[in-house]
Symmetry: C2
DNA sequence: ACTAAATTTAACCATACGGTTAGATTTTGT
DNA sequence: ACAAAATCTAACCGTATGGTTAAATTTAGT
């Protein structure tokens, strides 16, 4: 057994695998490419992770597991809805900015194989969002939100927060902007979106 | 040469390929699976389309080409902005409802290989959206829109229209709804979204 | 210092998968 | 009716790729 600096092989493999799987998908990824990126012998992949499936599964699940508690945390702070929503938007954007490849990765893999992760996520995510939905519902009944079903409100929020990261390549093409212009675009978005989300969901005048 | 009923082999292959490529992606798709789905001998795939690459390219490009003129058409009708936006939302939702797998398919493939389609799409899409952006810009300068850069407005619109189709699997999990409930969810969304989009982008009171 | 375990390497294996081929069958044109 | 072309089948091929193995090297424990 080794530690500190040395123990990096297993981690290096994981990091390389994460990069490759997230950009190429399960079947698009090549074990050799992962090994090259990690700068280790291909056999090491199997030494530490048995198989491509197993390695993928680790990357896939950790991609999600890592995010869930952070997101769930934001939704369960004890704050009035408006503050909570604004806070959620800010922190969620920060989070996703640090992990911009995860959403499309997860979406594509779930689409290919809905069964792989479903039950696992059900308990982890679904339940944690429920209190937030309830809180929206309460405010809605008091007439403090836009007059839409809470699920629609939730999906509107998620859509606006997440889509630009998923659709980056297409957006860059149709808006004809390069990487750095896109980054600017995101920065701009981070500035106004929290307030905008509050407005379009909590301001009853907006609909 | 054959026609009518007979000429179906080539078409059957294409349709099968479309289904498989769109749900599994280029490398996730198996030629045998496509052949099975089309109920033909695997050699037929190569007889009609030479290679997996070529077949994929056809599916990929046609997935997009088919949609571009329809979408572009919606954006270039001679209508006041509000009517155009509402019309766009309605028709776009209809269109995407008929082709719900295309957005995620295209996004994933563009992400894996941004070069494959970029220049081709640049000319086709980018230019066609420009007049719409200009029209928004004009109204914005008159103070008739929300005070955001036109690109942000455009992305907000696209996000709200398209994300539910891309994120279907994840949404079903976190909202804990089945296929038919999701379809209901979409129907509900189709009803309110056009008006909602107009409100949140054209009503200056909304921000 | 010595041994045993952990880690790494290079060379090899098995096979899934994309692709080919030769020939059968069907269709088309005259 | 016949030949030529188009369409289709089954059987096969080559190789990329995931995976294995045996032996070398490094590390850890005493």
């Amino acid at each position: 057994m080794q530690n500190e600096e040395q123990s990096s092989t297993e981690v290096k493999i994981f990091e390389a695998a994460r990069e490759v799987f997230q950009s190429k998908g399960l079947e698009g990824a090549r074990m050799q490419e992962i090994a090259d990126k990690a700068e280790i012998n291909k056999s090491m992949l199997h030494y530490y992770y048995r198989s491509k499936e197993k390695l993928f599964e680790k990357v896939y699940q950790l991609s999600i597991i890592k995010l869930i508690p952070q997101i769930a945390g934001l939704l369960n702070e004890d704050l009035p809805l408006e503050a909570k929503l604004r806070n959620f938007a800010i922190k969620y954007l920060e989070l996703i900015k640090l992990n911009p490849d995860i959403p499309l990765f997860v979406l594509h893999e779930m689409n290919k194989n809905p069964g792989r992760l479903k039950t696992f996520m059900l308990n982890e995510v679904g339940k944690k969002i429920q209190p937030f939905l309830n809180q929206i519902q309460e405010e809605r009944e008091k007439g403090n939100t836009v007059d839409l079903p809470v699920e629609q409100i939730m999906v509107n929020i998620i859509s606006l927060l997440i889509f630009p990261f998923i659709g980056r390549q297409v957006l860059q093409v149709i808006l004809n902007i390069d990487d750095s212009e896109f980054d600017q675009f995101i920065e701009e978005r981070i500035k106004y979106l929290p307030d905008y989300l509050v407005k379009i969901t909590l301001d009853k005048n907006s609909l």
